[in-house]
Symmetry: C2
Subunit: 205 residues, 2 copies
Amino acid sequence: MMKQITRTRTDPEETRSRILEVAENFFRSIGYQKTSVADIAAEVGMSPANVYRFFPSKGAINECICGRIVEEVAAIAFSIARTNAPAPEKLSRLLTSIHEHNKATLIKEKRTHEMVAAAMQENWSIIKAHIERMTTILEGIIREGVEAGDFDVDDPAEASRSVKRAFMTFMHPQMIEHCILHGEDTEEGLREQIRFILKGLGKTG
Amino acid sequence: MMKQITRTRTDPEETRSRILEVAENFFRSIGYQKTSVADIAAEVGMSPANVYRFFPSKGAINECICGRIVEEVAAIAFSIARTNAPAPEKLSRLLTSIHEHNKATLIKEKRTHEMVAAAMQENWSIIKAHIERMTTILEGIIREGVEAGDFDVDDPAEASRSVKRAFMTFMHPQMIEHCILHGEDTEEGLREQIRFILKGLGKTG
């Protein structure tokens, strides 16, 4: 009879999670740029080569972490889109909430900004997918508004792209930073822009 | 009788111009960041200390040069604003022309982009003044459109700020670069956004 081999096997999913957790702590404490894969490996208690078996690069680790960050933003948008409010009110609340969330994330957490900025450089696909999802949520609200007679729009998909662009200064991390830096991030400006967007959608009344 | 003193005095304005000309050549050939005041001084044939009598810093030299760059943009806007076309057509032509000019300046002349980016960091006042002037030109066109019954806007100053923000992705150097990089700078996108802006201004017809 063969001797039974007892090996302590760690679940690969657990190791992945552990790497992500340690990496996120490093990114949030010393910053994305200053963290190396060697730092992460040492803290997890594995060799860098072993970490690379799970993630091909530091950028790939950041991609996963930023995936969760943008997931939070999408969750806010979905929760507003699901309410029963009229479309113009939903749109206004959604834009305001996303702006406030992004601004809070940037101002309070400079490290998050650095991580997202890195992802915009190195992992554009994840940011692009996020923007597309957000645009789809906008499109859904615009369609509802058209059906209810609140909006007058021929092509809701086109309109959602225009709304996204028209609101860029209040959503894009660099633009928000730029506006705060130059004292141009005002409540009044935000309200003006939302009013303009609602008018562009041909809100009746 | 006193002996007449003959001194070759150089006109300070001429020296200033010469410094600007030499500096611009350096900025456009080796780049703003890599050029030092010592490089400029050596080429003009003066000491760096002497250059500093005319300009307190390299940033101050760049401010003057960028002043001329934004002057070109304003000249394009003014020339369109002065035509007799209907306001919606003027606005559409102005936005398209500014986008195309800024894009050409960026793509063809990376060095200009670097100079303007440096001015946005170091000499915000000149860029701010430029944005305000452009917004004033937009406001004038919107007022004309309201008077002619082409636009339906309560507050043309507010509307001009909204138009500026709604068109940011097609005007801001970093945003243009970002869109080109990600293949999102399309003719169709530009047309969509101008259509949306005209609708936001309540264009009749």
